[in-house]
């Protein structure tokens, strides 16, 4: 099959050579390339970027599946529809599918076109980005907005820098930030987090389902039961709360985290230090009276854990040095909670914290490497 797709037509000098990146991409998707080593080591490890990226997608699957169920659950609960498990799940699946389709079609089209222009092979990075974006936006986001956000982020955050591996910011998060600042009414507030435009369900704006983060922001915390509004701590832990599709369930995210850490694709140092940073600032905030919530509530609400596990750990945009990863992760977690507690404008700080730390990551690395080289120089003087 793949052989028929790769006649001389697409080879150098062929009429359709300009399409070779696309053809290569499909061809190598189906079969591992038959290239042999030409210089350097004669044998190579079986790992390649396709494998690395597919591992991240696999790690995202539990959060995505739970998210789909939760989309149905929230709608069913809000409108008193009394659906069964499968109905909830399929409702969520059908609501999410268009988002995935738009995200992948728009993103991959741009990715393929840019690779074509650069004359390079198509990079696998978008496999992950395209899966992440639908999981971090409200399920009801209009598809044209999503398409616009994806196009903006892939073009201006990734391709202009030279593609995957060269970007400074996490493209999925920039897509979210683009929506957040361009179309705030579709991205924030208490009415966007539960799906409601569907046959048979009245499209009533007055019905609102605020996220626990928003409820807590209003100060509705019951210290006796530990509940935030109508949601108990365990609701938030399991993920039966409104929010972006992928971010609600701590359990599903932790399964993903386990896969990422086990395979070594994402840095456990960043995950751990981010959580420590969030807990520490959450605790200080409680001491200072900025919040009534115990610090560990910061972990189960909003996008904190999803960001720590899947976004902050992006190997391209995070710090590269091992010491740098500790610092970077800590500051991501700390900043996110600082924004939550001390900023009146935004309830959720994770997106901004990660994007800010993406910007700062090269500086952190620069400092770590400088300290290291000057220590080496000192050692040499003393030797």
């Amino acid at each position: 099959m793949a052989d028929e797709k790769k006649p001389g037509l697409f080879e150098k000098g062929g009429k359709l050579y300009w399409l070779h990146s696309t053809i290569d991409a499909f061809d190598t998707f189906l079969r591992v390339p038959g290239t042999v080593t030409a210089k350097g080591a004669h044998v190579r490890d079986g790992i390649d970027l396709k494998r690395v990226m597919i591992m991240v997608v696999i790690a995202l699957v539990p959060a995505a599946l739970f998210g789909m169920y939760n989309v149905g659950l929230q709608t069913s609960t809000l409108y008193g529809l009394d659906w069964g498990f499968w109905r909830m799940f399929f409702y969520g699946l059908l609501r999410m599918l268009p988002l995935f389709v738009v995200s992948y079609v728009v993103g991959l089209a741009i990715e393929f076109a840019s690779s074509q222009i650069r004359g390079e092979e198509v990079n696998e990075g978008y496999l992950v980005t395209g899966f992440l974006i639908p999981l971090i936006v409200p399920v009801d986001v209009p598809l044209w907005m999503l398409a616009l956000a994806v196009a903006f982020s892939v073009i201006f955050v990734k391709e202009v820098f030279g593609g995957t591996g060269m970007n400074i910011w996490n493209p999925a998060l920039v897509a979210r930030a683009f929506l957040f600042f361009s179309y705030p009414s579709s991205m924030s507030g208490s009415s966007v987090w539960v799906s409601k435009t569907w046959a048979g369900i009245p499209d009533v704006d007055a019905i609102s389902a605020a996220t626990p983060l928003a409820i807590a922001h209003e100060g509705a915390f019951d210290a006796a039961t530990g509940a935030v509004g109508q949601y108990s701590f365990m609701d938030m832990f399991w993920g039966f709360i409104p929010g972006s599709t992928g971010e609600t369930s701590v359990v599903a995210i932790l399964i993903g985290a386990l896969i990422l850490v086990w395979t070594g694709v994402a840095s456990w140092k960043i995950m751990c230090s981010s959580i420590v940073g969030g807990l520490l600032v959450g605790w200080l905030g409680q001491l200072a009276g900025a919040t009534v919530l115990p610090c560990y509530y910061q972990l189960v609400m909003g996008g904190f854990l999803f960001g720590s596990v899947f976004m902050a750990t992006d190997p391209v945009t995070a710090a590269q040095t091992e010491t740098g990863k500790w610092i970077y992760g800590f500051l991501v977690g700390a900043l996110a909670v600082i924004v939550r507690l001390w900023n009146p404008g935004y309830m959720e700080g994770m997106m901004l914290a990660i994007l800010f730390m993406n910007t700062m990551a090269p500086l952190i690395d620069h400092c770590v490497v400088s300290v290291h080289t000057s220590r080496r120089a000192k050692k040499a003087l003393n030797a």
């Binding site: 079969r31 290239t35 210089k39 190579r44 790992i47 597919i54 591996g165 091992e322």
Partner: protein
């Protein structure tokens, strides 16, 4: 006195085809090649012409810049052919062996001064065995190095077991070490894991080091970077134990004898074992190459693709045979299990079978990409450097940063495992080589 060096980072590639500890044949080659390309930084000047008769130890070429550095024939016979490549570049001098193996007599005498040692090495053609760091080039006889480093073992994939190949040459090694010790202090490292079985801990007049760890713990460069990192302006020399024994043999007997036990290894080797052979022996006289097989002089990480018509190199005591991996596997990257492919990454399941040895081929297993995953470089580089920063400095050709990030301490071989583990399939050794070449050019 001995110092301990326990290295935690590194990787042993589980390759099938380790040589059995027996010598199965002695190859007496009809034609032997002397290749200037074996020596980094050598601009050769030819000293013989076709038809000249030579003895083992007679000079056949010299360094153009420093004509006192001679390169000699390992066999007696007649010069059969001068092989030249593009722009008349000298590729090899082929000597037809007469089978008598008559040797030039250099006189069995232990050198007593640095000058005597240098003189001996220069005229016998063994000067080429000294590798000068930084840059890994032919040593300059006019300088005195800070130290001379010898690693008595190799941890490279399927490398010849020096306990077996050189265990009976202890007297020669001692004599070689004594001679080199006249030039500079000799550091000698012994493998800790085989301390009880190896004869090398008996070597005297050296600063000895006990080294343990996975590959590249046996690389002399990695050891130097822990023992005494090379600073700007410093030079050290390194010698392989194989050639220390050859130096010692000349000291003890006055005759050049480069015969060595060569490990024939690799998954495509029919019967992995040792053979006696001289450097410059045609590959096809050592192994029977059948099918689409790559013949590598040395190990799979740093060796040279000799081709079926190539000749064993001056430094080689190993030949590795690998199948060419042109086959294309359906959905290889997506399969949960790929039993034939090894990966040090836990994205595959090689970790389930830690003792398994793999029949690896030369497939690249992916396409070239930008650097994404970079911690894997640090995991296989037991040196006090940031590999990715050094690599990027080399790519950028930034001399100042290359210096800062440790270019003086590395040779491509020390970062060879980065080639192996990189999911983005970058050619790290080639990048480092380019950086070193730039340093040589700019610093000259």
């Amino acid at each position: 006195m001995s110092n301990n060096l326990d290295l935690k980072k590194g990787l042993n590639i589980p390759l099938k085809g380790e040589a059995a500890r027996e010598v199965i044949k002695t190859v007496s080659a009809g034609i032997v090649a002397v290749k200037p390309t074996d020596f980094n930084g050598l601009v050769p000047r030819l000293l013989v012409k076709e038809g000249d008769s030579v003895l083992a130890g007679s000079p056949v070429m010299a360094d153009k810049m420093r004509p006192e550095i001679l390169f000699t024939s390992p066999v007696s016979g007649t010069v059969a052919q001068i092989v030249r490549g593009e722009k008349r570049k000298l590729l090899a001098v082929l000597v037809k062996a007469d089978g008598k193996q008559e040797c030039v007599d250099f006189g069995a005498k232990a050198p007593t001064t640095a000058a005597e040692t240098k003189d001996l090495l220069l005229k016998t053609g063994l000067w080429g065995s000294l590798i000068q760091r930084p840059y890994g080039i032919l040593a300059n006889p006019d300088i005195t190095p800070k130290a001379i480093f010898i690693s008595s073992f190799s941890t490279a994939p399927l490398a010849a077991d020096t306990d077996f190949t050189l265990g009976d040459s202890l007297l020669d090694i001692q004599a070689g070490v004594n001679a080199l010790g006249k030039i500079a202090p000799v550091h000698f490292s012994v493998r800790k894991e085989s301390y009880s079985s190896t004869p090398f801990h008996k070597v005297e007049n050296v600063v000895s080091h006990l080294v343990s760890g996975k590959h590249p713990a046996g690389n002399v460069g990695v050891q130097i970077s822990h023992i005494a990192p090379i600073q700007k302006g410093e030079t050290v020399w390194t010698v392989s134990p194989l050639l220390v024994a050859a130096i010692g043999h000349i000291v003890n007997s006055g005759k050049l004898d480069l015969t060595r036990k060569v490990a024939v290894t690799g998954p495509a080797a029919e019967k992995p074992a040792y053979v006696y052979a001289l450097p410059g022996t045609p590959v096809k006289e050592i192994v029977d190459v059948k099918g689409d097989v790559r013949v590598i002089g040395g190990n799979v990480l740093t060796g040279e693709n000799l081709g079926a018509d190539g000749y064993l190199g001056f430094f080689d005591d190993q030949i590795t045979l690998l199948r060419e991996g042109h086959e294309r596997e359906w959905f290889g990257w997506a399969k949960p299990f790929r039993p034939k492919v090894h990966s040090s990454s836990w994205c595959y399941f090689s970790w389930l079978t830690p003792g398994k040895q793999y029949d690896l081929d030369t497939n690249l297993h992916g396409g070239p990409r930008a650097f994404v995953e970079t911690k894997c470089f640090e995991d296989v580089t037991p040196m006090d450097i940031f590999p990715i920063y050094l690599i990027k400095a080399c790519l950028a050709g930034d001399i100042e940063k290359m210096e800062k990030f440790g270019i003086y301490e590395v040779l491509p071989e020390d970062l060879a495992l980065c080639d192996y583990v990189d999911p983005s399939k970058n050619e790290i050794q080639a990048i480092i080589r380019k950086g070193i070449d730039l340093m040589i050019k700019e610093m000259a």
